[in-house]
């Protein structure tokens, strides 16, 4: 099964604030294949979370608004669905787990109540007892010790890792086809991070669900993703399968990100960082958004926004690989 579960075409999500427009997601296209994991990488504010929220249609609106594009899920455009139809898809077909396990669970309901709720919404005709059974099963599945006891506990009684496990249990309780993980490990300790990633991987195998893994950490990508999409300032800058990316990053930004990963094998004086910051949307450069931070930047980069070029079955948005670049040389 290698058909696409979800196809995002030219997605544009803009924020309308103070009379201006912030193009948080600007023409992003990608596919997630069945049973595969897509990793989306980028710094904070590059639009990766907005992309996932756009798919879920959980944007704060106003000011956020999907202004263009298509999200084809199982052959149907999600953007044409009514609110009610979307609600049936959320949590049922497409589930999501968030960055903050600490705050993403409702503090006033027990863990069990929160999992059961998802089941009661989406599984027609399920009894409460049955739902409880399933919930405990799910807790077992995500390797929570003493699931019967945990079922009746409140989120504040659990550690961060446990809570993220609960989030995963909740997300997977209705057997979704797509699981969107928005920085699921960022807020956790390193050891817990690894456990959670392992768990996601394992469950993915078990349930056959596709995963969209959003992260700023290429390490996570290396561990889990089949394909990678690098985003910068609302645009895709590089798209490839994981191996190729790690083997040979093309875009200067990707290269920069790679250099940020501490390599145990090398002895480095200091970690290299990408100089500068993501540009403010007030003063987005006319040309390539990354240009002010780019070591390779040339005049053309300042003037012209590069296209997404197909190159060796990969995609990259950089003048370096264009004809013009060569011309300029």
């Amino acid at each position: 099964m290698s058909e696409n579960l979800i196809e995002v075409k030219d997605l544009r999500t803009y924020f309308f604030i103070d009379g201006g427009v912030v193009k948080a997601v600007d023409g992003v296209s990608f596919n997630v294949e069945r049973g595969k994991t897509l990793g989306i990488v980028g710094e904070s504010g590059c639009g990766k979370s907005i992309t996932s929220l756009s798919i879920m249609q959980l944007l704060e609106s106003p000011p956020g608004k999907i202004v263009g594009g298509e999200i084809i899920y199982n052959g149907e455009n999600l953007l044409n669905k009514t609110k009610e139809e979307m609600r049936h898809i959320r949590g049922n077909k497409i589930a999501m787990i968030f960055q903050e396990p600490m705050t993403s669970l409702n503090p006033v309901f027990t863990v069990g109540q929160q999992i059961v709720e998802a089941l009661l919404i989406h599984e027609e005709g399920i009894t409460k007892e049955k739902a409880k059974e399933r919930a405990i099963e799910m807790l077992k599945l995500v390797k929570i010790p003493l699931p019967e006891k945990r079922f009746n506990e409140y989120p504040h009684q659990l550690s961060g890792g446990m809570r993220q496990r609960v989030m995963i249990a909740m997300a997977l309780s209705c057997n979704p086809e797509l699981l969107i993980c928005d920085e699921p490990t960022t807020a956790l300790d390193v050891t817990i991070q690894a456990q959670i990633l392992e768990l996601i991987n394992e469950l993915k195998e078990k349930t056959g669900a596709s995963v969209m893994m959003i992260t700023h950490d290429l390490g996570v990508i290396a561990e889990i993703a089949d394909d990678v999409m690098v985003m910068y300032a609302g645009k895709v800058v590089e798209q490839a399968d994981t191996d190729s990316i790690f083997e040979k990053p093309l875009h200067p930004y990707t290269i920069g990100l790679m250099n940020c990963i501490p390599k145990l094998t090398e002895e480095v004086e200091e970690l290299s960082v990408i100089k500068g910051m993501v540009p403010s949307y007030d003063d987005m450069p006319k040309g390539c958004a990354f240009c002010p931070r780019c070591d390779y930047a040339k005049k053309i980069c300042e003037e012209e926004m590069p296209e997404l070029i197909e190159l060796e079955g990969r995609k990259v948005r950089c003048h370096m690989y264009s004809e013009k670049w060569k011309e300029e040389n």
Partner: protein, 303 residues
Amino acid sequence: MKIFRFFTKQKEFEQEVLSSDIEYSSYYKDSFKRLKKNKVAMFCAVVIVLLILIAIFAPLICPYDPTHQDYAAILSPPSAKHLLGTDEYGRDILSRIIYGTRISLSIGVVAQILASIIGVALGAIAGYFGGIVDTIISRIMEVFAAFPDLIFAMAIMTFMGKGVLNLFVALGLLTWVRTARLIRGSVMQLKEKEYVEASKASGATSFRIIMKHLFPNSLSTIIVLVTLGIPNAIMYEASLSFLGLGVQPPAPSWGNMISAAQPYISYRSLYSVMPGVAIMITVIAFNIFGDGLRDALDPKLRT
């Protein structure tokens, strides 16, 4: 970076405001910027300034002496001569309402400043010294909080005699507990902070520690409490005056005007309604401005 606004969560924002190591000057500058963005609060600030100006220049704007009795024009309806009509002694209602601004505002402000002084002093002492001092002060605060307020005010006013000055004291004594509680809390928090420990180690006296570190840290709390306490004090004044225990006639206060106008409400409804409207405008202005100030200065006070 506009986009950050969407990702910066409220909590972080509060955290930033709460962290006490920030520079005060920039902190207040930022707060003021935040406040300026709050259009409604700024509008209320303008209303408050207007009210203050009215209070200060009352003698200049008043068409009549508020206590001048014109027996030829008793309870006259609104006219060009008396825009809001006259009361049962032929006094101009508009002039009395204008003068009432003076009394209400001064009572609100002075009583709150007094309450803050008492509250800050006791709250800081309780919070700083802790132990038995704290226990005693806390119990005193509980006694004050649980004591029926109007009865207490009645007793104080009877004890000291009626008069605007005594009213300040009575209202101050009625409302200090809230300030004291909050100051006590924040002082206790701040006490744990390292820098206080550090200055202790360097041999500073307790008093100096409180003054130098704790007070500026709590200043924004106090400012917010005073602003939000003013409408409260104005309402208290109105209630006391309504009971005949507040501002004494012939001095005009909105509370005693409502009280005096009560029998005439079917006949001269404006007489009854206008002082109430004046109270409402003032209280609304202070409440909304105070809320805005709180959100800008000290969001942790919100709940």
